[in-house]
């Protein structure tokens, strides 16, 4: 690849600009030709034709935060696994044993969460 080193990464920036620009352009195009007749019954929230009771920005039990915590742990592990996977060909047995120990420690955590009943849907 000739050119300066960051050239491939320049494409990401340009694609972000092009993507946002094209979406906004389509919205603009639609705005030119679409009708617009809002009236009160049209602009209330859809709740199967019932009048909505209260806001939906309320506290409720999403039951997902434990999963989110476990995910963060595993994702941090993935950050370590990617460089390990790329360099594995040159590292040999030492890296393999070390990564097995690393994954086992992590899975002990998953086992603990499992036994605590965290993974169960209450």
């Amino acid at each position: 690849m000739k050119g300066f080193y960051v050239a491939p990464y320049l494409s990401i920036l340009i694609f972000i600009v092009i993507g946002i620009g094209l979406v906004l352009f389509t919205f603009f195009l639609a705005r030119l030709i679409r009708p617009s007749h809002p009236y009160p019954a049209k602009t209330i929230n859809y709740e199967c034709a019932e009048l909505p009771i209260g806001d939906s920005w309320i506290q409720f039990n999403p039951r997902f935060y434990i999963f989110a915590l476990i995910f963060v742990i595993f994702d941090v592990e993935a950050v370590f696994l990617f460089p390990w996977a790329v360099a594995f060909g040159q590292l040999g047995l030492y890296a393999l044993i070390e990564m097995v120990i690393f994954i086992l420690i992590l899975f002990y955590g998953l086992y603990y969460a499992w036994k605590q009943g965290v993974l169960k849907w209450v």
């Binding site: 050119g3 494409s11 694609f15 092009i18 709740e47 199967c48 060909g89 169960k120």
Partner: protein, 354 residues
């Protein structure tokens, strides 16, 4: 064995265009900028064509599985039905809810589409047909497609609708959970290739089709199957489509969207379906390698075959419950994929593969 190089490769067109651009005598940064702008517009066009085709195809497959014909009136077997639908959506009124969060509601479809669009930088559509061969290719695609979660949460929260909020929350939990087995299945391939670049991964599978990673028993097929399961969940498709379960959540996160904003979600969904299939083809099915035909024909053919598989899943399997979905991810897929990763690494070390 090296397969013969076929005529009809497309990269000649692009290198001719680039030499035309070089002859104008611009400096290197400007050449790169103009090249990427042109490629961005080309990719956008290709993406729209793919999405239009996939929508039509999905409707036809659904219809034929249910012993109907599906769209028949517009052209041969309704081939321009989705073009007519897109033009209709362009003219639809944009119904805006009073109680929405204006900024979040507006930017959710934009982020959803841009996240799906950005993944196409790194997909090798054929020999040398890649926008930019980033050296972190597959990691970049995983990172950028995860932005979809943020947009779905934004859509759910910004609509101020209970169905939408539930749909957004569910999709966040689901995509986050299936991210882990997906990464672990991809890592098996990365261990063997020793590179994250998509082009390197494809090149590692050149030659006879037994070099494809799906045929490297036993870890290849296991990684492929777990990847397909996780990818189906990532793309929010049935049997993992509880975020937009029609029967309970009506439409999930996009319930308050109409007109062009809705169609952006729709476009992004099909673009994501194509992306996960393209990754499956690149990682496990040899990418664009194949005999006689041009490489991009092979790539599109294989990818459409995987998309067809996902569509068959959608129209033949019932939907999972939320608890089954989560327990399947954490109690089955995560242990299996990590055990498979260790097995793959051991076989790479010991050299027990061909």
């Amino acid at each position: 064995m090296i397969w013969p190089v076929a005529i009809g490769e497309l990269h000649g067109v692009f290198s001719w265009l680039y030499s035309l651009l070089e002859s104008t005598g611009l400096s290197q940064p400007w050449l790169d900028i103009i090249r990427y702008i042109v490629l961005g517009l080309v990719v956008f066009g290709v993406l729209c064509l793919i999405a239009l085709f996939l929508v039509w195809w999905e409707r036809k497959i659904a219809a034929h599985i249910q012993q109907r014909f599906g769209p028949m009136r517009h052209g041969w077997h309704g081939w321009y039905q989705t073009i007519a639908d897109a033009l209709k959506l362009l003219q639809k009124e944009d119904i805006l809810v009073d109680t929405r969060d204006k900024v979040v509601f507006f930017w959710a479809p934009v982020i959803c589409f841009v996240a799906a669009f950005l993944a196409y930088i790194c997909i090798p559509f054929g020999d040398k047909l890649i926008v930019a061969d980033l050296n972190i290719g597959i990691l970049y695609i995983i990172a950028i497609t995860t932005f979809t979660v943020i947009s779905l949460l934004m859509a759910g929260w910004g609509s101020n609708n209970k169905y939408a909020l539930l749909g957004g929350m569910r999709s966040a939990a689901q995509i986050v959970s299936y991210e882990v087995p997906m990464v672990a299945s991809i890592l098996v391939v990365v261990v063997f290739v020793g590179s994250l670049s998509m082009v390197d991964i494809v090149e590692a599978q050149s030659g006879w089709f037994t070099n494809w990673f799906i045929f490297r028993v036993p870890f290849g097929p296991i990684a492929f199957v777990t990847y397909i399961i996780a990818a189906t969940a990532e793309a929010n498709r049935t049997p993992f489509d509880i975020p937009e379960a029609e029967q309970e959540l009506v439409a999930g996160y996009n319930i308050e969207y109409s007109g062009m904003k809705f169609s952006m979600f729709f476009l992004a969904e099909f673009a994501n379906g194509f992306t996960v299939s393209a990754i499956a083809v690149t990682l496990f099915l040899g990418g664009w390698h194949g005999p006689f035909l041009p490489s991009w024909v092979w790539f599109m053919g294989k990818t459409l075959a995987v998309v067809f598989l996902l569509m068959l899943f959608r129209w033949t399997y019932p939907r999972l419950r939320v608890d089954q979905l989560m327990e399947f991810a954490w109690k089955f897929l995560v242990p299996v994929t990590f055990a498979n990763l260790i097995l793959g690494a051991w076989m790479k070390y010991a050299g027990w593969y061909w």
